[in-house]
Structure formats: structure tokens, C-alpha cells
């Protein structure tokens, strides 16, 4: 080897070594608090201080995480079937997943939103949007179960949803992908002017939480991205970021980033209510599903609704204004006081903050710079509160504390910046790993934040955990915000892709947590509430088994007289009335998933036997020392058999 080759080799080795050292240093050089372990250690048997509800993104679910430990406490199945407990597989829960497009086993859940009273998180419900086939779901926080799903008609991609008003009078929904309204067979190239956006207001019944589509507002065909509603002085308004005001229909990456400014749509829903009261709305045809679980039977109903009330900006002056905002804004957030509206202009390094009071003045003074399809565009300067200069690259979302600080996630520069409302100065920044999307502070999008932590919900994971092949869990990071400077405390992996998440003090939920379903209140029509009531009944080729489960036997556990061609419904009632004693049910060859039956609950597993023979069924949840003995047999005879139905236990 020549001298030059040796030199090259040595230099190469040095470069590689240095590179590794630099990468390692970058990985650990974050401002990790010295006593980070102490802050996040929740001793065995102790509880976390906060519940966080993280959306699952492409998992379609919600995951419940304890803070500060980062421990996953539960997955709440919402828009996707969940084989673990039979959600979306049992006869009781299948109707929840019905839509205008039939039964759908999946959706993309983005933004969890906790219910509010007087602008403060109240711990009653968490709502979440289905982005793909537009829907909103309501989860009851006494049971952590999805109780209701409503479909949003005339909408393509329900992304700006389900943000709440300060008493959860309304949740909002908006079109991310504008579509022809009404739907029709037209060339895609005819997008401009023919495609429309839709902003919907979903009313929430204050006692039961039941949702209904109150009205829809027909909007120009932009992409409506994220939303937040006003509070305090701005209560009565909701704000929607929009991009693609260029109305491009292809290669949006380039074509929708042409203009220097896009818009925040400010919608005055109280004004809309006045117009509707004056008869300005129009009832139009629509097809959308409304599905809800009956509390006492636990059975979901599914109904298709046929019409919706439509309002147009022309029919209701003053209902909507556009606020120009730096290009392609993503998030739009309202501070705890309700005065500042902060968009995340993701392609701009400057964060331009709107003032609600100046917006009202601008409307009063007619400070209008033009219109888009008849919607007035307010002058940029007239609605501006201030600007954070050279903030960061790719600002996406903002959360707030009680001291007038804003925490902004910056996707491109992978960091959280902390800055002050009013002075617009940046006071701190901390790197996140890597490519942060949303972030959350407990109560951080409400009138009452808890100044404890900010959680970074990162898009890219790379080397943060032990590698698990090409597919990695998303990474979240817990950061202390109680002091002047942000301090990194913890990395923890998450489920699916958490877009947004919300958190609240644990006692707001834990104190109302249900432990069992009272057996005496179970009104399921196929419930057997005692072993005396267990039986098997034939209805044509349907066979209904009224079955009970208790530690550790099923009744009946010997069933004969079923014939090939029959459909068997095992209606299993868990007779236990003790906390955390579920039983599971599965039988040989069943198509769906096991049903995990909570104490006092009845769930139904459908089974279509394929062969003649004797088949076992068993309990899938280890319930006692004699759990392995919790089994039974069902005999399937040929189709022409005349064996009568019989059933027994212990005989």
C-alpha cells in the first residue's frame, strides 16, 4: 500500500470516528434534567398525576398514557376493530362502525378533544375525529368506552375536528379535501370554483353528550386544516386554518405553496344561529350514519339520517371572514384569555399572531382588502397583534401556560420554542427528537392550563429506542415546564401515530371511573342474569345461547342439537360483580375475535360452524386458579339431523 493510501485510510477512519462521536454527542447533549428520573419515577403501586389521551393516527384508536411516567394504561378502540376485547366484532359493537359506505373496520384518528365547562376541561368525555371517512366519536370517561359515532356528510377528510367550544356546545368539523358539492361525476380538472369546502357544527347535548349535525356552512374549495374555538371574549367564534387557496388539484406540494399568504377562516357561530333562527338555512339531502350505545343494554343502534341544514355565507352576512396569514398555516390556536389567535405558518419562519379585539374593530371599520367567493378578507395589518421574528422553521402548533407563554412545535428545526404573548420575544428553546408534530400541555388549549409538562409528539423515531426492524414506535418526549427553562425528562414510545393529545389532572377522571356494570340494571334482551335463566333457543336456522360466566365455569357448558347451516349466537353474561374480573369467550373456528366481557355485561359472539363434530369453547382471560377448567363443548350435527337442542352444566 502506498503512503498516500495509508494516509487516506487514516483520515477516513478519523472522520468516521469523529462522526460517530458527534452523532452520539448530539443524541445525548439535550438538556436532560439532572434529577429527571426522580421527576418521572412513579413508585410501584403509586398513580400518575395526569391522564393523557393520545390519538392513535393510523391505528384509529386512542391510547391512554399516565404522566409523568409515560406508561400506557389502556388503548380505547374507537374507529378500528380491536381483536383484544372484541370491539367492532361483537354483535353489540358492530353497529358503531356503520357508515354511509357500509361497515368500516378502520379510520384515521387525529385529534383527541376533552369536553369543557366554562372553558375548563371537565373530565366527562373525550371526542376524536375520524379523518378518512369523516366521523366524530364520543368516549365516556367513566367507562373509557366509545359510546357514539356520528358521520359528517358532504365532507372530504375531516381533519379540522373535533375542536370544542367553551361549554362543548359545539364540536367542529371541516373539509380537508374539498369535493364537489353536491357530490357528482365531473372532471377533476374542473376543481376551481366547483369543488367546495364544508364547515360543520356538531351540537352536543349537555346531559347525555349525544351529538347531532346542527348545521353546515358551505365554503370556498380550499383545504381546511386545523381549528380551535374562541373562549371568553371570543366565545361564539371558531377559527380554521386553510391552505391551497390556490385551488390546485394536483401536485399540491408545489402548486398549493404559491401564495405568500393563505387564510384563517373566522366563523361566528352565534351569528349563524341568528341567521338560522331567521330561516336563512336550507334543509338539504344528505346520507350519514348516527350510531350510539344504549347504556343499560350495551347494544349499539345504527340509523341513517337523510337531511342536514345548510347555510351559505351569502345568506348570512357576517358569518365568516378570512384573516390573511403566512403561507400554508397548519395549526391555529387560541390563548387561555381568548384574545390571541396563533396560526402555525408552517412554511414561514415568522409567527404572525392575530388579535381578536382588533379583528372585531377591523370588521366594524370595514378594513377589508377583498373577498374570496364573497367571503370578506380582512386587511392583514388590521388584525395583527404582533409577530415572532425568526422564530423557527416549520412552526406547526401552539399550546399555552398560565403565565402568558406559548410553546410552539417546530417541525423542520425539531424543537419547541417558548415565547411570550405581547412582547413576542423568544425566551427558551429545546431540541426534540425528531421532527415534532403536535405538542400538548395539560389543559394547554383551554382557559385553564396546568403549568407542569409539555409533551412533544414526534414524527420520526430513528435511534431513540432499541431498533425493532424497519417499523418503529413513534416517540414522545416529556419536558418539564414548571421552571424558567424547559428540561427534558423522559422519552417514551407511543401507539400508532399520535397527532394531537390532551391531558388533565387524574382526579377529574379517576374519581368517576366505573368498576362494574350492575347486573340488576342489565337490560340486554339476550342476557341470562342467573344460571336458572340460561338456555338455548332455536329461531329458524339461528340458535341463541343464553350463557353465563362466573369463576370458573360457563353455563351451559354442554350444548347439543346445533346443525350444520345454523348460525350460533353465544350471548355471554358475566355474572361477576367484582372489579377487574372479566371473562373472555372464544370458540373453535370463529371468524371474528374473542369477546372480553366485563362484570355485569352481556356480549355476543357469532359463530357459523363449518364442520360436523364436537367443538370446544373456553375462557380467554385468566380468571382464577381454575381458569384452565373454564371450558365447554358444542356438538354440531349434520344438516338433516333431528337431534333436539339440549344444554346443561354439571350434569
Amino acid at each position: 500500500m502506498s503512503k498516500a493510501s495509508w494516509l487516506r485510510l487514516i483520515v477516513a477512519a478519523l472522520v468516521i470516528t469523529l462522526g460517530v462521536v458527534v452523532v452520539q454527542a448530539q443524541r445525548t447533549q439535550v438538556r436532560v434534567a439532572d434529577d429527571a428520573a426522580e421527576h418521572t419515577h412513579v413508585a410501584p403501586g403509586e398513580h400518575d398525576d395526569f391522564y393523557a389521551f393520545l390519538s392513535g393516527g393510523y391505528s384509529g384508536q386512542i391510547s391512554v398514557v399516565g404522566l409523568p411516567s409515560g406508561r400506557t394504561l389502556r388503548t380505547i378502540p374507537v374507529f378500528s376493530q380491536w381483536a383484544e376485547n372484541g370491539y367492532g366484532y361483537t354483535e353489540e359493537t358492530k353497529p358503531l362502525l356503520m357508515t354511509s359506505q357500509g361497515f368500516l373496520a378502520w379510520d384515521d384518528s387525529h385529534h383527541s378533544q376533552l369536553s369543557q365547562t366554562d372553558g375548563v376541561t371537565d373530565g366527562r368525555w373525550v371526542f376524536i375525529n375520524g379523518n378518512n371517512t369523516p366521523r366524530i366519536a364520543r368516549i365516556d370517561l367513566s367507562t373509557f368506552e366509545t359510546k357514539e359515532i356520528i358521520e359528517i356528510p358532504n365532507t372530504g377528510g375531516n381533519h379540522a375536528s373535533p375542536f370544542t367550544t367553551e361549554n362543548s356546545e359545539y364540536l367542529v368539523s371541516a373539509t380537508r379535501f374539498s369535493i364537489p358539492y353536491p357530490q357528482q361525476d365531473i372532471p377533476i380538472a374542473d376543481y376551481e370554483g366547483n369543488f367546495k369546502g364544508m364547515i360543520s357544527f356538531i351540537a352536543v347535548e349537555p346531559d347525555t353528550g349525544e351529538m347531532s349535525v346542527d348545521f353546515q356552512l358551505l365554503m370556498p374549495g380550499f383545504d381546511y386544516d386545523v381549528s380551535h374555538c374562541g373562549r371568553g371574549p371570543s366565545h361564539g367564534w371558531c377559527f380554521f386554518s386553510s391552505y391551497n387557496t390556490e385551488e390546485a388539484h394536483t401536485l399540491l406540494e408545489v402548486n398549493a405553496s404559491q401564495r405568500d399568504k393563505d387564510f384563517v377562516a373566522a366563523v361566528n357561530w352565534q351569528r349563524a344561529n341568528e341567521c338560522l333562527a331567521d330561516g336563512a338555512g336550507e334543509s338539504v339531502a344528505a346520507r350519514y350514519a348516527h350510531n350510539m350505545i344504549d347504556e343499560s343494554s350495551g347494544i349499539a343502534s345504527h340509523e341513517m339520517l337523510e337531511e342536514v341544514t345548510l347555510l351559505t355565507p351569502e345568506a348570512c352576512s357576517g358569518v365568516v371572514y378570512f384573516l390573511p396569514t403566512p403561507k400554508s398555516p397548519h395549526g391555529v390556536d387560541v390563548d387561555p384569555s381568548g384574545e390571541y389567535i396563533v396560526p402555525g405558518g408552517k412554511l414561514s419562519a415568522t409567527i404572525a399572531v392575530h388579535s381578536f379585539s382588533r379583528m372585531l374593530e377591523a370588521i366594524e371599520n370595514g378594513a377589508v382588502s377583498g373577498d374570496a367567493y364573497g367571503v370578506p378578507i380582512l386587511e392583514f395589518e388590521s388584525v395583527l397583534a404582533g409577530e415572532v421574528e425568526r422564530a423557527c422553521l416549520g412552526p406547526l402548533h401552539n399550546e399555552f401556560d398560565t403565565k402568558g407563554n406559548v410553546y410552539t412545535s417546530c417541525f423542520l428545526t425539531s424543537e419547541i420554542i417558548k415565547w411570550k404573548l405581547g412582547t413576542w420575544e423568544i425566551v427558551d428553546r429545546i431540541p426534540t427528537f425528531y421532527s415534532i408534530g403536535h405538542l400538548l400541555v395539560p389543559g394547554g388549549d383551554s382557559a385553564q392550563p396546568w403549568d407542569t409538562y409539555v409533551v412533544a409528539l414526534n414524527k420520526i423515531t430513528k435511534d431513540r429506542y432499541l431498533p425493532t426492524g424497519p417499523e418503529l414506535a413513534h416517540s414522545a418526549q416529556l419536558i418539564d415546564i414548571s421552571g424558567d427553562r424547559m428540561q427534558m425528562l423522559l422519552d417514551f414510545p407511543t401507539q400508532g401515530e399520535p397527532h394531537y393529545g390532551q391531558a388533565l389532572p387524574a382526579e377529574l377522571v379517576s374519581e368517576n371511573s366505573l368498576r362494574i356494570f350492575p347486573l340488576a340494571e342489565n337490560t340486554h334482551p339476550f342476557a341470562a342474569k342467573t344460571e336458572d335463566e340460561t338456555r338455548v333457543e332455536r329461531d329458524g336456522s339461528d340458535v341463541h345461547v343464553y350463557m353465563t360466566a362466573i369463576r370458573s365455569h360457563f353455563a351451559p357448558d354442554v350444548i347439543e342439537g346445533v346443525k350444520l347451516g345454523d348460525t350460533v349466537y353465544f350471548h355471554v353474561t358475566n355474572l361477576e360483580q367484582d372489579w377487574d374480573i372479566p371473562h373472555g369467550f372464544a370458540t373453535y373456528g370463529m371468524e371474528g375475535a374473542n369477546a372480553l366481557i366485563m362484570p355485569g355485561q352481556t356480549l355476543t359472539v357469532k359463530w357459523t360452524p363449518q364442520d360436523v363434530g364436537v367443538f370446544p369453547f373456553y375462557c380467554t382471560d385468566f380468571c382464577s386458579a381454575l381458569h384452565q377448567e373454564m371450558q365447554g363443548y358444542i356438538r354440531v350435527s349434520p344438516a338433516d339431523s333431528d337431534l333436539a337442542l339440549s344444554w346443561s352444566v354439571g350434569e
Partner: protein
């Protein structure tokens, strides 16, 4: 060389002790009925119930107890034979009213800390279920058991 084993004082003492204890235990075994007759209290178990006043059988309470028992207990208990749990005939003679109610109301702690409940778990292997019964309901179930036992013929010795 075979030396005789040295005198084992400790061993002798142990033998004497064992013999004495065995004798006393035998004596005790012979007089359990006596002990009980003399009012040696049955265990009250562990739980919220410290004392129960028993009066003449209250038929309204019996009816309420029967209803709760049939809803929450019959999947595991029969009166005349062993099922998942022990047969309940003469339970009011075997156990104190407090023990019965504590076993219904507080079965998890009972199984861990009460010697009788622990032995029952060892024998039956399935733990007594906590059926989230109220004190009022447990009292009614006790009355139902008393009414059942009152109907049974006296056990011939």
C-alpha cells in the same frame, strides 16, 4: 472404634415436649362441643361487620335476601351440595353472623387473612367472588340463610 453416642439432652427434651403437646391436643379434640357450648365465640372474620343483632326471623328481610342471593350467588352456591363453592346448609351453625357477612362483603381480604377463609380457598381453589353487595343486602342474605337453616331437622349426634 465404636463409641456410644453422647447423651442428647436437646433431643430428649424435644420428645417430651412433643408428647405433652400431642396429649393436650388430643384432649382439646375430645372436647370441641364442650368448648362451643360454653360460648367460646365463633370467629367474626375480618371486615366491616363487628356485631350483628339477631332477632326472630324477619320474613321481609328473608324475601329480599333470597332475591339478591338468586341474582348474585347461585352461579356458585347450592344449599345441599358442593358446587363451585361450599354447600350452604347449616352455614349459620358453622359460622358467626359477622363472619358470614364479612365473607360476603370482604372476600378478598378474608381469603388472605382469615384462617377459615384461607382454608376454604385452598379446598375449593376458586376464590369467593366479591359481588359488590351492600351491607343491607348482606344482612338480608344472612336472614335468608337463617330461615333455611331453621327449617332443617336437628342434626342427630
Amino acid at each position: 472404634m465404636n463409641a456410644p453416642p453422647p447423651f442428647n439432652f436437646a433431643g430428649r427434651m424435644l420428645l417430651v415436649t412433643v408428647a405433652t403437646v400431642s396429649f393436650l391436643a388430643l384432649l382439646l379434640l375430645l372436647v370441641p362441643a364442650l368448648a362451643q357450648d360454653e360460648g367460646e365465640a365463633l370467629s367474626k372474620g375480618i371486615g366491616p361487620i363487628e356485631s350483628v343483632e339477631l332477632g326472630p326471623i324477619d320474613e321481609t328481610l328473608v324475601a329480599a335476601g333470597k332475591e339478591t342471593f338468586e341474582l348474585l350467588c347461585t352461579a356458585c352456591h347450592k344449599f345441599e351440595e358442593r358446587y363451585v363453592g361450599p354447600p350452604l346448609h347449616r352455614v349459620t351453625e358453622r359460622r358467626s353472623p359477622e363472619w358470614i357477612m364479612n365473607m360476603i362483603l370482604n372476600p378478598t381480604q378474608m381469603a388472605m387473612e382469615d384462617p377459615i377463609a384461607f382454608d376454604l380457598l385452598a379446598e375449593y381453589m376458586t376464590p369467593m367472588a366479591d359481588q359488590s353487595v351492600t351491607e343491607e343486602q348482606a344482612r338480608a342474605i344472612l336472614e335468608y340463610f337463617r330461615s333455611i337453616d331453621a327449617e332443617l331437622p336437628d342434626e342427630t349426634p
